[in-house]
Amino acid sequence: MDFTFDEQQIAFRDAIRKFLTVEAAPELLAEIWETPSGRSTELRAKAADQGLTALSVPEDYGGIGLGDLDWILIQQELGYYAIPDSLSDTAYLAVHLLKNLPPNGGFAGEWLRKIAAGKARVAVGHPVNPLVADAELADLLLLWHQDEIHAVKPADAKVSLNPSIDRSRRLYKVRWTPAPATRIAAAGAGRALWEGVLDRAALAAAAQLLGLAQRMLDLGIDYSAQRKQFGKPVGSFQAVKHHLADVAVKIEFARPVMFRAAYALSRNDARQAVAVSHAKLAAGEAATLAARRSLQVHGAMGYTWETDLQMFMKRA
């Protein structure tokens, strides 16, 4: 029984954290939020330079060949910095589908290479959400149809934006027609792949939620140490302390659950779906509490567009 990550995994996480601290400051996020596409090609290119798009692409296709356990640390950082991009949809979910496809005449290899090189955005549409993130910017759409997997070119789909309260998410209704030419996996093979994608999507969401929870806690701590009332920092009052201590406890006890889920996925464990569901619930609970409590600690400032908190809260 060993829950610790190895030095390489930690070093990679630390490098990504450093990169995001510099390149994804809240001021930049606020700017990106206001752009029409909601995406920064520059940030995405820099993320690719850091190896983030190549993370789980097999080495044969120019990737780094890492897996679920490596991703879990990175996903937490993507959450902590509220990265306004569906990076994980391309680099984690689409890659999982593509690299496990039945023989496909080099189709998957071509796209895996593009993804690893940071030259492709792939949107993934699963019926658990009727809308598809970043469908308009995508170079390729991987879509569910009766458990089959279809690869649809942007020109063959009609997309319409559905604004979300979280402006870091750009969600689209996608209208398209399934055809034998778009089908890249039959229902038999597709079903297991979609299940694998759903588990990984839930786990990625859990990890990002925990990253967000930690960020909202940190923002609450910073604010409560600075903000003075009755001549003292509000963070010195027990009522405020206890609000934030509760959040810390939720995060601490959700994290090992999430690690166990990632481990189960990496081992193709028979109970992986249970482990993932537990992680998603625990992380969601931590993030919801973090949002609620951090907002309370921020007082009226928390209810404004002007504090950074609002971006993290909405993403959570």
Partner: protein, 388 residues
């Protein structure tokens, strides 16, 4: 990361499981808060010791097995899964022993540890006083130096197991001019010593689980002091976080209760399913017990790699005490009209232990440092919020 047990760990699990299967009494023992029950539990400690299972984390030469934390967690999982008796010497084995190991002299270790492991000495703890509860540094109980003795005067309270125990350990003010956490000494003394009066306190459940201890010129030899005179506070606190935080309430205990709760729910689905929120509460109980276990394994593996314990003692305390409440409240809801029946009520069947557990769970957020104090510790030491 490797979340499987080693072969050695699996073999260890099999060994303790077999031993417990052969030795756990078929009939549950009487409560150790009665004279007869206390004697039964003392005999059980001796039985555990005969199999070298009474203090598995201790070094072999002290009567233990030198188990690491992972093995200890495995031991506890099996112990609770086997419905083995509660540990009457918990204060000694899990609270005092780690302090003795770290700060005791060779003579003190040889004198106290083997008898503790064998259940020959059962230990009570003497921390709280009427004026020193959450504010433990307000201790006033005096230990006046007279030659090679201390003379104790004052009062301790909420002293767990003190009604029937043999020895007590606690903090006493040895420097009369001192304030707060200075000038306290860590002393050990037999409860049969002249000048001691013990008044049992009746708990919420009607039993006398703890007591007040009155000291009227009680003589304690200087060699019964652990560590330096006046260093009692730091000695008491040094091992507090590390051992108690992980060992006071192991996850195995709550995982077993969660499992029992799932069974209780399954037996009562015909009535319980009328309220769908009950099912959610059962599932949440199971998940939280699982999370507590995973978090403890995560801490243990971090420590095994040379990491330091952080605020786990405080975060754990909040989690297990709230989980225990949730589980027992849920059981009470499932049992409905029968929930209030005393264990010996003719129509209570085998459900009475849930009421016992429910009452005991009420104490969880209070003892071993209230949850409010734990939240202060988390906020100040883990999150770095300013002190009041």
């Amino acid at each position: 990361m490797r979340l499987e047990y080693t072969e050695r760990q699996n073999a260890f699990r099999a060994e303790i499981r077999d031993w417990l299967k052969a030795h756990v009494p078929r009939q549950p023992l009487e409560s150790f808060d009665t004279e007869a029950g206390f004697a039964q539990h003392r005999a059980w400690e001796a039985k555990l010791f005969s199999g070298r299972w009474s203090a598995v984390t201790w070094p072999v030469e002290m009567g233990g097995r030198g188990c690491d934390l992972i093995e200890w967690l495995i031991f506890e999982e099996e112990y609770w899964a086997a419905s083995a008796p509660l540990r009457v010497n918990q204060n000694g084995v899990f609270l005092l022993a780690p302090t003795l190991m770290e700060f005791g002299t060779a003579e003190q270790k040889a004198r106290f540890l083997p008898r503790m492991a064998a259940g020959e000495d059962i230990w009570a703890q003497g921390w709280s006083e009427p004026g020193a509860g959450s504010d433990l540094a307000a201790i006033r109980c005096k230990a006046e130096v007279q030659g090679d003795h201390y003379v104790l005067t004052g009062q301790k309270t909420w002293s767990t197991r003190a009604v029937w125990a043999d020895w007590v350990f606690g903090l006493f003010r040895s420097d009369p001019a001192s304030q707060r956490h200075h000038g306290l000494s860590f002393l050990l003394l037999p409860l049969k010593t002249k000048g001691i009066t013990i008044r049992p306190i009746r708990q919420l459940n009607g039993m006398t689980g703890f007591a007040e201890i009155f000291f009227d010129n009680v003589k304690v030899p200087v060699e019964n002091r652990i560590g330096e005179e006046g260093a009692g506070w730091s000695i008491a606190m040094a091992t507090a976080g590390f051992e108690r935080g992980l060992m006071l309430r192991s996850p195995g205990r709550f995982q077993q209760t969660a499992k029992n709760l799932v069974e209780l729910y399954q037996r009562h689905r015909d009535t319980a399913d009328a309220d769908p929120s009950l099912r959610d509460a059962v599932i949440k109980s199971w998940m939280d017990a699982e999370a507590y276990a995973l978090a403890t394994y995560a801490t243990a593996s971090r420590l095994a790699r040379g990491g330091q314990i952080g605020a786990e003692a405080s975060t754990n305390k909040i989690v297990w005490s709230e989980l225990d409440l949730l589980m027992h409240e849920t059981a009470m809801r499932i049992l409905g009209a029968r929930a209030e029946l005393m264990p010996d009520a003719p129509d209570a069947g085998d459900i009475g232990h849930w009421l016992d557990g429910f009452l005991f769970a009420q104490a969880g957020p209070i003892y071993a440092g209230t949850n409010e104090i734990q939240r202060n510790i988390i906020a100040e030491r883990m999150l770095g919020l300013p002190r009041a």
